[in-house]
Amino acid sequence: MPITRRGTLALPALALAAGPAAAQGAPVKVGVLLPLTGNAASAGNSARAAIELATELVNTPHPELASMPLMATAGLPNLGGRKLEAVFADNQGNPSVGQNQALRLITQERVVGLTNGYQSSVALTASAVAERYGIPYVNGESVATNLTERGFKWFFRTTPIGPDIARVYLDFIEEQQKQGRPVGKIAIVHENTEYGTSIADTIAKEAEARGRQIGLRIAYSANSADVSPQVLQMKDAQPDVAIFISYTSDAILYMRTMRAQGYKPPILIGDDSGFSDDSFIQTVGDISQGVINRSAFDASRPGSNSNKINALYKAKTGREMDDTTARMMQGYLVMADAINRAGSTDPAKIQAALRATDLKPDQLMIGYRGVRFNEKGQNVLASALLVQLRGKEYVSVWPEDQASAPLELPFKGWS
């Protein structure tokens, strides 16, 4: 079986050649598992570009981003300036392939750590391999709660998870109620794979704990060709708040269908994913004005790390960076920082460095309150904020102390 490394090396090698020749020793390899083909290929390829960008930023001096670790210097200073290299592997959105690729990255590519995975199912199986081989794994984006409930010692996660997200939504809803808006009837519309179902369950549970009812819950299959019955169901039930948990294609269809059926919920919240995809904004942004989105990435404030990173990303790809992509990039950067602080490629030392991680908000490219892992490996400072679509851009609107623009309600949609 002639397994060669040509393909995986080609692009990072280019990135290396661009930087100043300060490299000493071979580059330090980090494995990056992404769904580069299959249903989530769009998300996977966006993340790939972001992680290439991150690698470039680490390997070349970027004084303008000096508040973030590794940005001002070239390479990994504590390892004698060795370069960082991302080795990408396509998990095809398949748990078994994810496991294979994790094994390949560990045993063949000799990566010192693994990151991402995207689908929770892939992160689940791939991290089990990492656990057995004693290789640190930093996941930046998978939200399934059980990932950090398995007693793993090598698994770390930077993203906010279901309960964090549910809290954000309900806090927001309660505040709207205080301001006199009707919020009695909440609808959740969610795609019925693991992502949509688990987030919807968590929101429902949190609502119940606060004595609220979910008036309408609609599960649907993300690859439906038609979503008009669901829209009519909502038009019939007239909820005050509608929370959509959707991928890109269905989010696009929902907006189009709501317009076609002439229905607007007064408050429309999209849970990240589909609604934050740049493709969503490009295709149906004009008819989705004022849609609220959960996000941790707010590029709207000039001078912020997020803003600068987004500009660099846009220069590279021509697209806005979305929240999912940003969370994946942040996960990768946390891994890079830990390797540097470990000052070694020894997995156990990197693991120890990860445990000791304590990043402040201004050291991040995303709007978390910081990065610090609990004993389960979950980032306890992960947080999310709400952004709202204005024109072709999401601006942060809630909580108010982090808002760059005022909240505008009700949902405007199309004119």
């Binding site: 079986m1 002639p2 397994i3 060669t4 040509r6 393909g7 995986t8 080609a10 692009l11 992404l34 580069l36 083909t37 290929a41 996977g44 390829n45 790939r48 080795v87 990408f88 592997a89 396509d90 095809q92 398949n94 748990p95 078994s96 392939v97 496991q99 294979n100 690729q101 094994l103 390949r104 045993t107 063949q108 929770s120 199912s121 689940l124 199986t125 089990a128 656990e131 057995r132 081989y133 399934a144 059980n146 398995r150 007693g151 793993f152 019925n192 794979t193 693991e194 949509g196 179902t197 688990s198 599960a219 299959s221």
Partner: protein, 331 residues
Amino acid sequence: MAMTASRGAWGRGVAVLGVLAVLALAALLPFALQDVFHQRIAALVLLAAISASAWNLIGGYAGQVSIGHAVFFGVGAYSALLGYTLFEWPPIAGAPFGILISLVFATIIGLPTFRLRGHYFSMATIAAAELVRILVVNWPLVGGAVGLMGPAVPRSTLDLSFTSPRPYYWTFLGTLTALLLVTHWMSRSRMGFYLRAIKGQERAARSLGVPVQRYKYYALLLSAGFTSLAGSLYALMVGFVDPDSGFGILISVRMVIITALGGVGTLFGPLAGAVILVPLEEWTNATFGGAGTGITYVVYGFVIMLISRFAPGGLAELWRRLQAAGRRHAA
């Protein structure tokens, strides 16, 4: 056959010895492969060969092209992990239940659909499998959309959870050997002849006293049972299953593709198909996957197209052609 009885016995002896030698070599292969990733690919080849060989019983020998075999695979995989999730059983303990449930499913699906001919049968099996997949997605007791997890950390050896792919390889090799022995025995027995007759000309077969529906059903039972076992073994190794990786239509299609590639209705066709296809998948993914351009599948699809274009009967046809050429050469 012009062969005399003694030469037949001698020939059979040589064949048996040859098979034993190949088996011994196969068992030793993991020692030759030092690389863990290569060992795992070898194990995956065997796993793919098991499910394809199981499919071959009904799809190849009996000519009933089911594109819904993921039902049985998924039932096997889910049973293994459901026993663990609900009762903390070691996953392997769920396998017999998977087989039992698969036999029940085979009865429910097979009896009504066997009346359908050709593409109608194939479509009905797709629909039945999709039906089950959607029901599983929406059924929280079996994990719903989230799927089921095996023991994250092995509790005892009974969990059959190993870091090295070698034990999996040997387990799969044993299962495949058993399956191929059953297939071989079946193909030479009355059942094998009847199935091939059914595949050739159903009406003519009936006129010769072949109870067509009954033998299709036998073949489906055998096929479903082994497919379910393959699913359980998959769950054992991967430690996780969700609706797509258990019941997805691609699981079914892959069994068909591998068998068709190797040679339908032949003993070693599915194995040959798996030996080609699985490393091809892994090689293209390892080589091109990281670039994120989809070239993996372009190459993979192109190879499949080429094989079907130049050898519609699969590798078995190429093999026969080579043999014929060899004979012509010798003569």
